[in-house]
């Protein structure tokens, strides 16, 4: 009784990385431990993949 498309399902790959930044409600931005703004560090963004199009994530509906 399983729909056809679910024959192709895979375990969801939630992002396992622990992000090295935290949200600062005063700045309304995520900041690194050294106080820098995380979004300005493009190399880090690329490494973490947190701005990447993903699938199967609860937190990323439209990618």
């Amino acid at each position: 009784m399983q729909p056809f498309a679910l024959n192709y399902a895979r375990p969801a790959a939630e992002l396992e990385v622990s992000t090295p930044y935290v949200y600062d409600s005063g700045l309304q931005l995520n900041v690194l431990r050294d106080g820098r703004i995380a979004a300005c560090d493009h190399a880090l963004m690329r490494e973490l993949g947190t701005t990447t199009s993903t699938a199967g994530s609860k937190t990323h509906f439209d990618d």
Partner: protein, 324 residues
């Protein structure tokens, strides 16, 4: 006049836009509707023929009449982090927040009605066809026999979810996948199934549209590459690519018809260089393209959000909106 951003705290992609708004001196209030009744509060009164409403978050107070734009980015379910969350409270909180915001003159990226409609993949396919974008032959059906006949006509098929959503119990992903030549289609009867002719691609294209501006990026692939780029084991970098005038005209028509100020279009490029439309994500990610290509997507979004609200159409997107 303030830009209101509705998104989660962990949305570091939104940060890329906040940085530009801050640099421009444009006031920003960022909040997650999930925090309503906790860190987020609202109030609005309709008295003597007038409306006055306010939102507050993290010590900031903003008048709803003082909003120039609303960026509906990745908002959580309203009040889902309240002390006693419930479906009823979520509906109440959502009606209160979005109901007040809908009455403002702010410009939306994207308006909730347009966003909801734009998520329907069958609707996307039809709109793309009408706008002149090439769409691979597609069938959505619960008839196993229709699927078998489609597979005879188009032997090389992919299957993908109709909704783009993924089952959560247990959490699974349903990527776009090639259908085996000897597939048994009897299970098509148990759920609407989207089958599409596989395009032998030489590149994936992500075209990010912000108002009138189109920023396209290309990633070269092999013809037998992973069908779903999100699941490719190793990815080449994205590079900026020009948009052919005919494609640009069709994409602009799509945005106008869909009343979208923002859209992330996915195409595949075939051996002839034709871009085949796959889908348009009305809130698609863009950070990964910007960090590879250096294209100023975040800055363009910030500029769109920073335009004044007064004197323009209330909900129509930047593609056709008049700004004075």
């Amino acid at each position: 006049m303030t830009v209101l951003i509705l998104t989660s705290e962990e949305d570091v992609t939104a940060d890329m836009v906040v940085v530009h708004l801050n640099a421009s001196g444009v006031p920003v209030v960022r909040l997650d509707p999930a925090d309503l009744t906790g860190g987020v509060a609202l109030s609005g009164e309709y008295v003597h023929g007038a409306f006055r409403g306010h939102l507050s978050a993290a010590g900031r107070l903003v008048s709803i009449g003082g909003l120039r734009s609303v960026w509906l980015r990745r908002p959580g379910i309203p009040a889902s982090r309240a002390a006693a969350p419930s479906g009823w409270l979520a509906e109440e909180a959502g009606q209160a927040l979005y109901g007040m915001l809908r009455g403002s003159d702010a410009r939306w990226m994207n308006h909730p009605d347009a966003a909801r409609r734009a998520r329907h993949k069958p609707w996307q396919l039809r709109l793309a066809q009408r706008c002149g974008l090439p769409v691979p032959a597609t069938l959505i059906t619960t008839f196993p026999q229709a699927a078998r006949e489609f597979a005879e006509r188009y032997p090389d098929l992919v299957v993908k979810p109709v909704s783009g959503a993924h089952p959560q119990d247990p959490p699974r992903a349903v990527p776009t996948s090639r259908v085996a030549p000897d597939a048994d289609f009897s299970a098509v009867a148990f759920g609407p199934t989207l089958l599409q002719r596989r395009v032998a691609k030489r590149a994936d294209i992500r075209l990010t549209a912000v108002g009138e501006r189109l920023l396209a990026a290309r990633m070269a692939t092999g013809a037998e590459a992973e069908v779903d780029v999100r699941f490719a084991e190793s990815q080449a970098p994205w590079h900026p690519v020009e948009v052919a005038p005919r494609v640009a005209d069709a994409v602009h028509a799509y945005l106008r018809e869909a009343e979208l100020a923002y859209g992330a279009f996915d195409f595949v490029e075939d051996g002839d260089g034709t871009w085949w439309f796959l889908e348009c994500n009305q809130s698609g990610q863009f950070g990964f393209v910007e960090v590879d290509t250096g294209q100023p997507i975040a800055r363009t979004i910030a500029e769109w959000l920073a335009r004044p609200a007064a004197g323009q159409e209330a909900r129509v997107n930047g593609a056709s909106a008049k700004v004075v």
